[in-house]
């Protein structure tokens, strides 16, 4: 049988999918405001208006959930939707009267309306145990557990500024920079299955992958394999994807770390990387309560203490790191003092000290 030749169409045109009011006023919008949490109101130079109602989803959706969202869109929202980068769904309507019934229908069907402005938005996350080949933990479950706890902050706009969260199941950090991020932190070197290395791993490529040059080819029990200098090893797990017999995930010793202060936006200060502020938390499914507790402690300390428009990084810049650790009741350990390349830029080269 002749095989079908793929149509290499690439990214499709979005014009056929745009809500008619968006299509008509493309590139011609004047301003927006937020009449209530979860609703954006945009006004075009033409005078046209559009209301967008934003709702949280579980991201990994079964077809029944997607069809339910489609039913709501068909009945209340003119048959068009879009998704945000944080897996929220948005319904656009050109008539203000349609907003309240739409909000109502979403809430009745279990979709929280919110995630706009100075709220805690949905967590950017990864695949985890559900589908990834190298995960130290789960993603969807950890997100579900945490969003259950933060639901009230998703549906309200009561934070000093927007709060972005992310989770990542390994140190590669596919979840990305965020105001508060949860990332797996391994604490032991990989356990090597020497019987499998020769057949499964391209050894020079694995050696090259190590950030600290701790791996070298070796004969183990007469077989070509790899060995790790465990004194040098930083337990990052970089060798595990190219060489699965170098198992880095450990049910006990793969821990979770909390990072804060990442910001992609250029608003006010330049974009910032997040910083590790806690680690050693147990990987404790199905609800990871130890992680939720610290995330909430940081979040509510920020909520109480930051001034309006301060992102988490702006707040820490004002109050200083010593007070951050004090206020959030987090221990400052030697592991939080950077010693990677360029680390001296992260030390305090001044007498700027708050007392």
């Amino acid at each position: 049988m002749a095989h079908r030749t793929p149509i290499e169409s690439g990214a499709p045109d979005n014009k056929p999918f745009l809500h008619p009011t968006l299509l008509k006023n493309y590139g011609n919008w004047k301003y927006h405001d937020r009449p209530r949490p979860g609703v954006l109101h945009h006004v075009a130079h033409s005078g046209d208006e559009v209301w967008s109602v934003r709702a949280g989803t579980q991201r990994q959706m079964d077809v029944y959930t997607i069809r339910k969202l489609c039913d709501i869109a068909d009945k209340f929202a003119e048959g068009h939707v879009r998704f945000t980068i944080r897996s929220n769904i948005e319904f656009m309507v050109a008539d203000e009267k349609k907003v309240a019934p739409l909000v109502d229908a979403l809430q009745k069907n279990g979709f929280p309306v919110g995630g706009t402005g100075n709220s805690v938005s949905m967590i950017a996350h990864t695949q985890g145990w559900l589908h990834c080949d190298i995960p130290g933990t789960d993603a969807s479950g950890a997100v579900k557990a945490l969003m259950d706890e933060l639901h009230a902050e998703f549906i309200r706009e009561e934070m000093p500024n927007r709060v972005h969260l992310s989770t990542s199941c390994c140190e590669i950090n596919c979840g990305g920079q965020a105001d508060i991020a949860i990332i797996v932190q391994h604490t032991k070197p990989p356990k090597i299955n020497h019987d499998l290395v020769a057949n499964m791993c391209e050894r020079p490529a694995v050696v090259a992958r190590c950030p600290v040059a701790a791996i070298r080819p070796a004969l183990v029990n007469g077989k070509p394999s790899l060995e790790v200098d465990e004194k040098k090893c930083i337990c990052c797990g970089a060798c595990y994807p190219p060489c699965p017999p170098m198992q880095i995930n450990d049910p006990e010793h793969s821990k979770l770390a909390i990072w804060v202060g990442g910001k992609n936006s250029n608003a006010r200060g330049k974009p910032t990387f997040m910083k590790m502020v806690a680690s050693g938390l147990p990987n404790n499914p199905p609800r990871w309560p130890e992680v939720s507790e610290i995330v909430k402690k940081i979040l509510y300390t920020y909520k109480a203490d930051a001034r309006s428009w301060e992102r988490l990084s702006d707040w820490v810049e004002r109050i200083g790191w010593p007070r951050f650790f004090e206020k959030c009741d987090l221990p400052f350990t030697k592991y939080l003092i950077d010693d990677w390349r360029g680390s001296r830029a992260n030390l305090n080269a001044s007498t700027h000290i708050r007392f």
Partner: protein
């Protein structure tokens, strides 16, 4: 009806609570599909043992070298047979979304029908690279599902050492802060490289992302090898009616504390209306009255286009009309040398005419060609630039240096400068060229 579900006491605990539950969704699918019954069995095992059970492999569609993420179970009985045989394979199709991730319900329903028929029925909107992820199909169904999605006008995204699926913000479709046509830039650039998406042959992954303003809703600066971020060169616009409305609602304290004091370069001043400057000396100023007595004055020469005041006083303040983008190269996450932000390689590129968009594509092509030729295996652009230095990279792709590319000039003397006079001559040439360009404009 599917077979009897496995006990899932741990996953069951993720069905309560106010947030939508993916476990409830999986269980609904498991009513009809043995496949999902066993997928839940596998996931429950992970929750119990704290281990992952998927490994990669080789599955694809005819004509393409990537875009499918193969997964085979490693959860085996002692005799080597899968513990959950109906979920022994869980391949994912990465499908490129339309720019801005807009859909009609019609197209979403068609996608659901395809995946209900050929896969698990589990779809993620969207993955971190922007793909729609059709999660879980068996090897024989991958080709059929792809063919049907492909006939609907959708195509596979990138995986492995390839140009990856791109993302762009809602932008011009619904946002007043949009400084270029993000969807056009997204499609024109990314669809130039379909071959490099479908046939992974680069040193490592290469990501483009498009944000319409420096709020950077696509997080491009920390994730994209080439970030295209909207900006403008002329004065900010203002709208007195909206400014007065804002002030009437928020008052002087918020104007001072939230707008004026938060400007990172102190480019905004609060003025009494009677002090406002006019005439030639004020050509670079944007002024707008917030009341009969007070006004904001923005010195556009000092403004770094950070978007803060525009975010706070939406519509009252707005970006200018001479719009385009700043191009940054080299953003990435941790592996291997640590996190890197993208850094400026083109401070301003106009994005209005056909030629402007062609020039953006051409720049992308040059960056990718240089990357393909010069990066080491598994090295991202940011790491390559760290290794060879920005100047070598710029010379390689034919871009001129510019002081906007640095946070500060060099802070150490460890450089051989015996070509100094020649470089001064070049700097003077660049300056003269700029003067001619400005006069022509």
């Amino acid at each position: 009806m599917a077979k009897k579900p496995h006990d899932t006491p741990l996953l069951d605990q993720l069905e309560s609570g106010p947030w939508p539950s993916f476990v409830t969704g999986l269980k609904r699918l498991a009513k009809d599909k043995d496949y999902v019954v066993d997928l839940l069995g596998t996931l429950e095992t992970s929750y119990r043992t704290k281990k992952g059970y998927w490994k990669g492999g080789t599955v694809g569609v005819f004509g393409y070298g990537g875009g499918v993420i193969p997964r085979f179970t490693e959860l085996k009985n002692e005799d080597g047979t899968p513990v959950y045989p109906d979920a022994a394979e869980l391949h994912t199709l990465r499908i490129q979304p339309p720019p801005g991730m807009h859909y009609t319900t019609d197209v979403l329903r068609k996608m659901c029908d395809v995946w209900e028929k050929h896969g698990t029925g589990l779809i993620a909107f969207h993955g971190q690279s922007g793909d729609i992820m059709f999660q879980g199909a068996k090897t024989p169904d991958v080709q059929t599902a792809f063919d049907e999605l492909n006939e609907m006008g959708f195509d596979l995204g990138g995986a492995g050492p390839a140009v990856r699926t791109s993302m762009s913000c809602v932008g011009a479709a619904r946002c007043e802060q949009s400084c270029f046509d993000e969807a056009r830039a997204h499609r024109q650039v990314i669809n130039t490289f379909t071959d490099d998406i479908h046939r992974p042959a680069l040193p490592y992954k290469f990501k483009f992302k498009f944000s319409g303003c420096s709020n950077d809703c696509m997080n491009s600066i920390q994730r994209a090898d080439m970030a295209v971020i909207g900006t403008w060169r002329d004065n900010m616009r203002s709208d007195e009616a909206l400014a007065r409305k804002w002030f009437a609602k928020h008052g002087m304290n918020e104007l001072v504390n939230d707008v004026v004091a938060r400007c990172p370069t102190k480019a905004i001043m609060l003025r009494e209306v009677k002090e406002l400057r006019t005439g030639d000396g004020a050509a670079h100023l944007t002024t707008v009255k917030v009341s009969d007595t007070h006004a904001l004055e923005i010195d556009n020469k000092d403004c770094v286009r950070c978007m803060h005041c525009v975010n706070v006083m939406t519509g009252a303040l707005a970006h200018g009309t001479d719009t385009g983008a700043t191009i940054l190269v080299g953003g990435k996450r941790t592996l291997k040398i640590g996190d890197l932000m993208g850094t400026v390689v083109v401070p301003f590129m106009p994005l209005k005419t056909d030629e402007d968009y062609d020039a953006l594509v051409e720049l992308g092509r040059k960056v990718i060609d240089f990357f393909a030729e010069n990066a080491l295996e598994h090295e991202r652009t940011g790491e390559m630039i760290e290794r060879i230095g920005l100047v070598n990279f710029l010379e390689g792709i034919g871009l001129e240096i510019d002081p906007n590319m640095v946070a500060t000039p060099r802070t150490n003397p460890y450089v051989r400068t015996d070509g100094w006079d020649d470089e001064v001559a070049k700097a003077n040439e660049r300056k003269a060229k700029k003067v001619i360009e400005i006069k022509a404009a």
